[in-house]
């Protein structure tokens, strides 16, 4: 009869197979990256080796599907899986040395740079010129800085000066360079219930909104835009605005603009995201070009001591590229053909005081 010890065996066997399959998964999925970094001569042998497990891995699902239907085939299918897994395991081992001189640069950046499309222009140019593979992770500036502080990103491209200064003084970053600036704008319903059009400054406009209890939609996500917004509220004498009129989405700029438009509320946005979304919005620009609306983008090289795996050379390459003439020209020209006006002003080499 069935004893517990004996019956566990097939389960154990399957568990081992799963482990093997997980490795096979690594092998196959590493391939797209491997092929992309194929420019680096070092990774080429690894790329060719991984090619084999990919084939086996892709055919594996179909095999298992049949195996489940007709269990007699299970043994054969599993054997193939194990075989491919061993192949993958050796491939991964072969890849390991190639990874140490990593060509991947993890860039933690803000959603506005991705949503505006600027990153899509800069990334291929950078990769073609340096041979690095950029991995941009678009998150709010708050999360980007946190990833940097943990050593989980190599380099940051962010826009929250006050948070950045704290980051630098903590020793989390080793180099911070000015890249570009543009201006935030205040958008809202054309009817303008708070009458911000008649106000003279950003601070007055914010005061008018809170005085009339008009709906204001905030990002509420510690992003660069949110940080700027809170600093203006502070200047207007409100440490943390609250009430039914002050609504936080916790979402990116595009989503927040849509919410503000649907609710007929005001919101602070970067111009690039607004112009990109304009066709779907009822909101109009009510206030712009105020000195308080200055939006400064900087590149920060994360302190390489944060983690042994930080790709400092790649981070420096990205910072050099961003502040170099090629990228600066791309930045200065970006948006001219689509919107008739530039979305960013290139600032490399200037001091932070110069653009204030």
């Amino acid at each position: 009869m069935f004893t517990k010890r004996f019956s566990i065996l097939p389960i154990l066997f399957l568990l081992v197979t799963i482990l093997a399959m997980t490795l096979a998964g690594c092998g196959s999925s590493a391939t797209p990256t491997a092929t992309e970094t194929a420019t680096a001569a070092a990774t080429t042998p690894a790329a060719t080796e991984t090619a084999t497990p990919t084939e086996t891995a892709t055919s594996a699902p179909t095999e298992t599907a049949t195996a489940t239907a007709a269990p007699t085939e299970t043994a054969t299918a599993t054997e193939t899986a194990t075989a491919s897994a061993t192949a993958a395991a050796s491939a991964t081992a072969a890849q390991a040395p190639a990874r140490t001189g990593s060509k991947d640069v993890i860039l933690a950046t803000t959603t506005s740079l991705q949503d505006s499309g600027l990153l899509d222009v800069l990334q291929p140019d950078f990769e073609a010129k340096t041979g690095y593979t950029l991995k941009p992770v678009a998150v709010g500036t708050g999360q980007a800085l946190q990833l940097g502080a943990q050593g989980d990103a190599d380099v940051l491209f962010v826009h929250a000066p006050s948070q950045e200064e704290a980051f630098m003084s903590n020793g989390d970053g080793v180099d911070r360079r000015l890249v570009a600036h543009n201006y935030f704008i205040l958008v809202g319903p054309a009817s303008d219930p708070a009458g911000v059009k008649n106000t003279k400054s950003a601070v007055d406009a914010f005061k008018a909104i809170s005085d009339t209890q008009s709906i204001f939609v905030s990002r509420g996500d510690k992003s660069g835009t949110n940080t700027k917004e809170l600093s203006i509220w502070k200047k207007a004498g409100m440490e943390s605005p609250s009430g039914a009129w002050y609504q936080q989405t916790g979402q990116g700029m595009g989503a927040t603009l849509k919410v503000a438009s649907e609710k007929g509320g005001y919101t602070l946005t970067d111009k690039a995201t607004y112009l990109a979304n304009k066709a779907n919005l009822d909101s109009v620009i009510l206030l712009e070009n105020d000195p308080d609306f200055l939006n400064v983008y900087s590149v920060i090289i994360v302190n390489p001591n944060k983690n042994a795996d930080i790709n400092n050379a790649g981070a420096v390459a990205w910072a050099d590229y961003l502040t170099g003439p090629d990228a600066q020209k791309l930045i200065a020209d970006y948006g001219k053909d689509k919107y008739g006006e530039p979305l960013f002003f290139a600032d490399a080499g200037k001091s932070y005081d110069e653009i204030k």
Binding site: K4, A30, P32, A69, G117, P136, D152
Partner: protein, 232 residues
């Protein structure tokens, strides 16, 4: 309504133009989700069979845990897998955060309880006498288990479909562990979110249509396997 039309038109145009970027995203989605589902099968089926057949102290607690896991929130999985895979985490040395591998791991974690839970139900609905009979005819424990799985293959395929459906349509964990990197970890769902936040709703709809077609195609394939024998 016009957006849905536009999306449909754009989807068809994208599919027939064979846009390499869209093809890449679609293939990557399929590859990641199939791998995730496959791994979840190897994890979920044995666990499900074990929990269905053997009684031991704490079994009910485990079964409840598996059933609760069927509703495991993907964002929780995403966050926990991220913490493990970040360089600062215990498995940081593997360098798999922001790669398809990380997404496969997260999806396997999401789908495994679904597969295990449905496997328990599938095995338990078989008459217990069936196993005794198989054993009585001289089958070894492995053989008897394979016979049980064979007997339960229809509900088991439903488990595969449910697991695949859960991961291909998932976006929270995919964004967190994958990073939505173009050409590397951007899949249909994360691309949809991005297009929506860019304000390009027609492109987002087009991706949605492709996703629906993909889910349908995979389920058709599985259903064909499941329903090979015509009902009598």
């Amino acid at each position: 309504m016009q957006l849905i039309w536009e999306g449909l038109k754009q989807a068809l145009a994208l599919i027939f133009s064979g846009d390499p970027q869209i093809m890449g995203i679609t293939l990557l989605s399929l590859q990641i989700s199939l791998s995730g589902t496959l791994i979840s099968l190897f994890l979920g089926v044995p666990v499900g069979v074990w929990l269905a057949l053997y009684s031991f102290p704490g079994r009910r607690a485990l079964v409840s845990l598996v059933n609760a896991g069927m509703g495991l929130p993907p964002v929780v999985v995403g966050l926990i897998v991220s913490i493990f895979l970040w360089r600062s985490g215990p498995f940081g040395l593997l360098h798999i955060i922001y790669t398809p591998t990380a997404m496969i791991i997260a999806q396997a974690v999401i789908a495994s309880p679904v597969v295990a839970g449905l496997t328990i139900a599938a095995i338990q609905q078989i008459d217990p006498k069936f196993r005794l009979q198989v054993l009585g005819l001289g089958a070894s424990s492995v053989q008897s288990m394979l016979q049980l799985l064979r007997e339960a293959r229809l509900p088991l395929l439903a488990a595969v479909m449910a697991g695949f459906g859960a991961v291909i349509s998932e976006v929270g964990a995919a964004t967190m562990v994958g990073g939505n990197i173009l050409g590397q970890t951007r899949v249909l769902t994360t691309a949809m979110v991005l297009e929506t936040s860019k304000g390009d709703f027609a492109a987002a709809m087009a991706l949605g249509v492709i996703l629906l077609i993909l889910v349908y195609a995979v389920n058709v394939a599985l259903t064909l396997i499941q329903q090979r024998r015509k009902p009598q």
